[in-house]
């Protein structure tokens, strides 16, 4: 009766959906963005704080499917406390994984870097759902830019 072994709905995803990390908006923040996935109506509002090139805090609120909500939760765990450059690098890697149409090869380094986010690998096989998985990640990227830390190169250099 349960979903197949290769289900898109890995237990990690369900857990994050039920108990999302960094859920709730910050009062003290450098940038706020609101992203919507027009195809399915998923929404996320995200606020973050950046100090000395590091994402020191992040909080979000959202509505939508388990994929978008869980993915935002996983993203939050991964980027809070990281330098902006590293956060954007993880974002880039996640983006590539999502666009791989199920063909993505995960190296050990990827697994380490993406951590819980590897659970979303199965989503990449479903073009219609990829945008859900990316929603929070795109919002984070925009928020970083909004906060004045857009250019990866510069930040990294």
């Amino acid at each position: 009766m349960s979903a197949p072994i290769d289900s898109m709905y890995q237990q990690i995803i369900l857990d994050h959906y039920k108990n999302p990390s960094h859920h709730g908006l910050l009062d003290d923040f450098d940038a706020e963005v609101h992203h919507v996935n027009p195809t399915c109506g998923d929404e996320v509002t995200l606020r973050l704080k950046v100090k000395d090139g590091e994402i020191t805090d992040l909080g979000w609120d959202g509505e939508g499917c388990s994929i978008s909500q869980a993915s935002t939760s996983v993203m939050s765990d991964l980027v809070v406390g990281k330098p902006v450059a590293d956060a954007l690098a993880v974002q880039q890697r996640f983006l590539e994984l999502m666009q791989s149409r199920g063909q993505g090869e995960l190296t050990d380094r990827d697994e380490e870097q993406l951590d819980d986010a590897v659970a979303f690998e199965g989503v990449s096989k479903y073009p219609a759902r990829v945008k859900c998985a990316l929603l929070g990640w795109m919002a984070m990227k925009s928020a970083v830019a909004e906060a004045g830390w857009a250019d990866t190169e510069e930040v990294a250099g």
């Binding site: 898109m8 709905y9 509505e63 388990s66």
Partner: protein, 417 residues
């Protein structure tokens, strides 16, 4: 049921497919129906043996293909019980059919002899709150172009039109009422004759969106009494890329053209052109030749099964499914809860689980349903849900498939529980 569903299933090649290693359970026919082999073959045979352009050639292939295309028009006219074959216009889909009307009414503003179709400031265009975007946006745009007022008949908690509002919203100011026969988002079957009678009483034109009705209900344009009726081929087991607009001949005869181009003209000069009689006037350019022919085959297919048999079959499935789904904790039916004046389309929500997740998890079990606003976003807004999950049935749907749906939803509930 007077047809054997297992026999019917053999006509549809895709039904032997597997999805994620399990047999396909296709419960998304309201979105688009699958195609019987005869329909697939009709297109292929035309291309392989009789293809040329229609109506433009004196050679043998041209003559064969024109005969086939016009025979499809006859079939559709018969299917609709249309008084005349010249009232049947082939379009790309119902969306184009409805926009054709909206633009032709719009063109009446300046087209000579079309005064009776003119719409302007002070006039009102009426739809319902349960329209598909394809029967909503064209009229919003027409209202914006002409300065007319856009109004709508609201829906109640059960997903039915508020009956008293029919008389309140349709008034002497109403020029045109366009409404859905069977709602794709709710399953509701609307009282067409009641609405047409009210519109007639105030002298408004009536347009029926029969996209969801055509595959499931007898569609007799004379009995319905409306001025225009449209449907779309791909939901009627026909190919993609073809739809139909039917209109009363005396109206079509005066209605301004929509698209300009080949075959819709009487004579063309650089200084100006005159236009052909219906249906040609509304069929500009090379038509969906093979698609119209195959739609004729689909109409034959449905007629052979018998539309009342289909209705009976689907009604049994719907009753069974409503019962099963209502038994699952957290399931809310969006639309009529009872199996009365409703079609074989059931929208629902499951508490705590997003409709996309329901649909995706069902897909992992081979069950294809749709999740979203079903191109009728105002319906979702009305019921305060972001989206719904929707299961819809067709001639090939079995009671066993309904069981699988109900078990699947129950399992989703437990996965997220």
């Amino acid at each position: 049921m007077s047809f054997d569903v297992e026999t019917v299933r053999k006509d549809f090649p895709i039904l032997s497919r597997e999805v994620h290693g399990v047999p396909l359970v296709y419960l998304d026919s309201a979105n688009s129906a699958q195609k019987p082999q005869v329909v697939i073959d009709a297109e292929a045979d035309l291309y392989a043996n009789h293809y040329a352009n229609t109506a433009r050639a004196v050679h043998t292939l041209g003559s064969e293909v024109t005969t086939a295309y016009e025979a499809a028009r006859d079939k559709v006219a018969g299917f609709l019980n249309a008084p005349s074959r010249d009232e049947v216009i082939f379009t790309r889909n119902i969306t184009e059919a409805l926009n054709l009307l909206a633009y032709s009414f719009g063109n009446a503003t300046w087209f000579p002899g079309a005064e009776k179709f003119r719409i302007g400031p002070g006039d009102e265009i009426v739809v319902t709150e349960m329209e598909h975007h394809s029967n909503l946006v064209p009229w919003q745009l027409l209202a914006q172009r002409t300065g007319a007022t856009f109004r709508w008949i609201p829906i109640d908690d059960e997903g039915r039109l508020v009956d008293s509002a029919i008389d309140e919203v349709i008034t002497e100011r109403t020029r045109l009422v366009s409404f859905v026969y069977q709602s794709n988002a709710l399953g509701t079957i609307n009282p067409v004759q009641r609405i047409v009678a009210r519109a007639n009483a105030v002298g408004a034109y009536t347009i029926v969106d029969a996209a969801q009705a055509a595959p499931h209900l007898p569609l007799d344009v004379q009995a319905l009494g409306a001025d225009f009726v449209a449907f779309t081929g791909h939901k009627l087991y026909g190919p993609s890329g073809v739809g139909v607009l039917w209109g009363r001949y005396e109206l079509l005869a005066d209605l301004p053209p929509f698209l300009g181009g080949g075959e819709m003209i009487e004579t063309v000069a650089m200084e100006g052109s005159t236009f052909a009689a219906p249906p040609s006037r509304f069929e500009a350019g090379t038509p969906m030749i093979a698609q119209a022919v195959a739609l004729g085959t689909a109409v034959d297919y449905v007629t052979n099964l018998g539309i009342t048999n289909i209705r009976e079959h689907e009604k049994a499935l719907t009753g069974y499914a409503l019962e099963g789904l209502r038994g699952i904790p957290g399931v809310r039916i969006v639309g009529p809860r009872d199996n009365v004046d409703r079609g074989a389309t059931i929208s629902f929500t499951l508490a705590g689980v997003h409709p996309h997740d329901v649909a995706q998890l069902l897909d992992e079990r081979g069950i294809a349903v749709r999740a979203g606003h079903h191109c009728a976003r105002p319906v979702c807004v009305r019921y305060g849900v972001p989206a719904t999950t929707r299961a819809s049935f067709g001639v090939y749907t079995t009671l066993d498939e309904v069981d699988q749906l109900v078990q699947g939803v129950e399992s989703v509930r437990r996965t997220f529980g």
